[in-house]
């Protein structure tokens, strides 16, 4: 049975608190903290980007899988912050993992669901027997315009999943994708920051697609919320995934482990995939997991996984997600954050 054979997450150590951002723009920090359930977010260092975080997450996934990287037949990195406009991030990542040259590679884009697209295609290629192993990565170093609501949440992180059919730690029992043309969030060519439809990003966008994909996969499999130990949803803020979970019948205990956004921020393509890594870090054999991504534009990919016995052998082989989230943090002031993110620039010498 095909499924995940290895996984890994990478979270940069820098953080900025919601209060620190709100102070600069004269905004009301408590309203962000209560309204959106955000406390702080991760920030990449100037020498970190989608490629570097993907390499680290990918290395952890290979370590957990214990496979020869030369056997990886495909690598797909989903992101909306690929460092190059032309030259796939996957070329550098595959080379760094030692997976070249017999490998298929493409970068994916679909706002925040680009990572789950890579996972979806890798699983399909493995099931079709075209490749032995395939790596799907979701990673972003997304930016919100200074002072925009997105600036409080847009953060950085990566998650990598290696799919295969021997040494599986979580089988893929079902998938379902759900997509329509919905202009809730976009970024035009040559623009540094995205635009969004404000309140329009809720009901007709996030909830319609997240719930649409989730309900369809539950119907397909004949399962209900009670049949799952864990669930993780795309998490653009703290509130949306909890509400989506509640509507579907999941309780807090099922959602909490993969709900990282209050202290991680929204890692865009990394969001529900990193949530899944946090769940796999603690999951027990036999437990069922629901993951539903969401990408503006708009669509959702849903997966049902069942954890196998082998999970216990791999959990400790690489750094765990919540350890990276909780430990070794460095808090930035807004000025340093703005410099790190290229929001302010020194004059050319």
């Amino acid at each position: 049975m095909e499924g995940i054979v290895g996984y890994g997450a990478y979270i940069p150590r820098n953080r900025i608190k919601v209060e620190e951002i709100a102070k600069v723009w004269g905004a009301d920090a408590p309203s962000y903290k209560k309204g959106l359930m955000l406390e702080e977010k991760s920030v990449p260092s100037p020498d970190q980007d989608v490629i570097t975080m993907s390499v680290e997450a990918g290395r952890y996934a290979v370590k957990r899988a214990g496979v020869d990287p030369k056997e990886i037949g495909a690598i797909y990195i989903g992101s909306e912050s690929h460092p190059y406009a032309v030259k796939p991030s996957g070329t550098v990542v595959a080379e760094a993992l030692g997976a070249t040259p017999d490998i298929h590679c493409a970068d994916y884009e679909f706002a925040c669901k680009a990572g789950s697209e890579g996972m979806f295609v890798c699983f399909g290629l493995v099931r079709a027997g075209l490749i032995k192993y395939g790596m799907g990565i979701g990673a972003d170093t997304s930016q919100g315009a200074p002072g925009d609501a997105l600036e409080y949440s847009a953060s950085a992180g990566a998650a990598a999943f290696l799919f295969g059919n021997d040494g599986v730690i979580a089988t893929v029992d079902a998938t379902h994708s759900y997509m329509t043309d919905t202009p809730d969030f976009w970024r035009r060519e040559y623009q540094n920051y995205p635009r969004h439809g404000g309140r329009f990003t809720g009901e007709p966008a996030y909830f319609k697609h997240t719930l649409g994909a989730a309900r369809a996969i539950l119907e397909k499999t004949g399962l209900t919320a009670k049949d799952f130990r864990w669930a993780t949803f795309h998490q653009p803020n703290g509130k949306f995934p909890l509400r989506a979970g509640k509507i579907l019948g999941f309780d807090k205990e099922q959602l909490e482990q993969g709900w990282l956004v209050p202290r991680l921020g929204n890692t865009y393509s990394g969001a529900s995939p990193i949530g899944l890594t946090a769940i796999l870090d603690v999951a027990e054999p036999g437990e069922r997991i629901l993951m539903v991504s969401y990408g503006s534009g708009a669509g959702s990919d849903a997966f049902v996984f069942t954890v196998t016995e082998r999970i216990k052998e791999v959990q400790d082989l690489a750094p765990k997600t919540r350890d990276q989230l909780d430990n070794n943090k460095r808090y930035l002031e807004y000025g340093e954050y703005a410099k790190f993110r290229g929001k302010i620039r020194k004059i050319e010498e």
Binding site: S45, D47, T52, V55, R59, V92, N327, N328, K346
Partner: protein, 131 residues
């Protein structure tokens, strides 16, 4: 500044820490070389360096080359890896007061330099403190 061709030639070392091990006396060279300086043997096998070690010396560079001036001051360290091989690497994500001889480090994949606004992006290893 690194040219795309020089950067590309060095990528096995920069990306994957590939070193050459003398097939006769076992000495490890990083970067690889053509002749072993201890036994004059000319045959090597590929080996991968461990990605953990400790700082054996370091220096803070306050006046950097112009393409690194945004990052100043930069910590440059000599790292003794767990197999005894010594390499020079930037120590990133740290402040000067966190650095000391003997501090354990791990090598991470980072962006090493950007060739201006439109040039190639160069990646490789840097050391981060193990905490």
């Amino acid at each position: 500044m690194l040219t795309p061709s020089k950067y590309w030639r060095e990528s096995p070392q920069r990306y994957r820490l590939e070193a050459a091990k003398c097939t006769k006396c076992g000495k490890v060279f990083f970067p690889p070389r053509l002749v072993c300086d201890s036994c004059k043997n000319g045959e090597f096998e590929k080996t991968t360096l461990p990605d953990e070690g400790k700082i054996v010396s370091y220096s803070m560079i306050h006046v950097t080359a112009s393409n690194f001036s945004d990052e100043a001051p930069i910590a440059l360290g000599i790292i003794e890896l767990d197999n005894g091989t010594k390499i020079t690497a930037q120590v990133t994500d740290c402040t000067e007061d966190e650095l000391a001889v003997g501090v354990p480090v791990k090598l991470e994949f980072r962006k090493v330099q950007e060739a201006g606004e439109s040039g190639v992006l160069c990646y490789g290893y840097k050391a981060v403190l193990k905490r």
